[in-house]
Amino acid sequence: MAMIENRRKKSLIALSMVAPFVITFTLFFLYPVVEMVRLSFTDAPLIGPGNWVGFDNYVKLITDRLFITSLKNNGYFILLTVVPTTIIALMIALAVNRLKGGMQALVMTLFFLPYVLPVSVVTEIWAWMLDFQFGVLQPLISLISGKPVAVFKNPYWVMPTVAVVTIWWTNGFNVLLFIAGLRNIPKELYEAAALDGATSFQRFRRVTWPLLWPVTALVLTLQLILQLKIFDQIYLLSQGGPFNSSYVLLLKVYREAFQLNHGGYSSAVATVLFVLIAGVSVLQFQLLRIRRG
């Protein structure tokens, strides 16, 4: 009897401890998820009720050229960022890792600092550097293309430029993950390899690379998820233009809901994005589980 009472008391205390989180979570997270799915089957405006329309919104998505364009642009942006940023981060991590003491700390700081900046600070600095008339990077662009380019108003330059800005801004995080991974590799392995007379390249191929693969998989999938969600930089630098050449899924969600007042249709786009990202997350989870055995 006393034990049951004790157990009940324990459960009540536990309940009081999890309640604050569970309540906020249910109200501001779970409920919006359910509502998003429900709304995607209606023709509701942003504010106010709508009629149930079944799968109409999803059918409409298939023939919506702007939706197809944004899917393609998301894919293009992923191509431009995910693998390049991983390679660059690995190279920086290897370079930083061989430095020592204060020098290492300084260089690490220089590479990591952009990561803590607000996105609008980042975009303003780059917009200034790439200014068509006075931008400090325009001589460099003239060198490549023969003339100055208004990069964010040019359909060919816009996505690669946003990709460069994004890589610059976020790569410190990946560098850090790689450095942590490098530090986890036992020193003895390198000593043994050195005794066997391995060259630096062989040491990288036989020791560093295989042991670093799990971190690489983590970085690749984290980047994939992150770049699927791109919005801020695009919105601040090019607003999806020119000619929709940088229109992405989340921008579609935003425009349909907040500018065109299509709450239901916007929710359908959001649900697709949601499913895409959840899918990649499951993939990541599986990859990491395999690695931990």
Binding site: K10, S11, I13, M17, V18, P20, F21, V22, T24, F25, L27, F28, F29, Y31, P32, V33, E35, M36, L46, I47, V96, R98, L99, M103, L106, V107, M108, L110, F111, L113, V116, L117, P118, S120, E124, I125, W128, M129, D131, Q133, V136, W168, L176, I179, A180, R183, N184, L218, L236, L250, V253, A257, G263, S266, S267, A270, L273, I277, A278, S281
Partner: protein
Amino acid sequence: MSPARKTENIILTLITLTAAAVWIFPLYWALITSIRSEERVVSNASLLPDEFQLTAYVEAIFNTKIMTWYFNSVGTAVIVTVVVILFSLMCAYAISQIRFPGRRLLYGIVLASFMVPTQALVVTQFILMHKMGLINTWGGIILPQLIVPVVIIVYKQFFDAVPKEMREAAVLDGGGEYTILFKVYLPLNWGITTALAIITFIGVWNAFFWPFLIVTSEDMMTIPVGITQVNDAFGVHYARLMSVALLAAMPVAVAYLVFQKKVTEAVMISSGVKG
């Protein structure tokens, strides 16, 4: 070390330093621009600092609403950080230390929600905030940002690692669960608590998309949203624009430089790669 290895080493170090200098150049350039006069900014593109004046900063501080935006950012970021840490601390402790029904399910939900993109939820979150009458308020900025499942996940892992004897001793001393949490488990985990608090704070401080949606009045804007208004209001005044940008970046940059070790530690721990 052989002379060949030594030369290789020096060359590699030089390459690394050059790359780091190129990497930080945008920030250097913003700084140089911000201490020039507007005329100099567009007439003379010297890469070296050739002028030092704080006019742009004075104008930024007195002629924009940056101080109001600072206040909103500090207020909302502090509240979110404190609440997230407190709620997660309690929730993680219960999941880790108390056997209660539904505990595994709850942790499963927390883990699953970690994978969900909150960006996809902005429309329905906005509608909810509208229903609650919280558009253009601190409450509207704060509430949806209170969900940071990773903090619970990290806390749970750390609580799981606390030796069972600590808890048993505290129970024998007659301590209730709240006493044990705040007198034993929290002090034992101060390190990770500060680390989590700092990355939560930086995350909220830098948040753009949600505050941008929920706030339309200039007086309620946070720093990352507010500074985008300066552009519209003044056209191309790059010295002022850069001084505003640097003022906006200052708190997080300083926080990072001061708590560098904690920040990097927190990033590594929260992504599951312990260094």
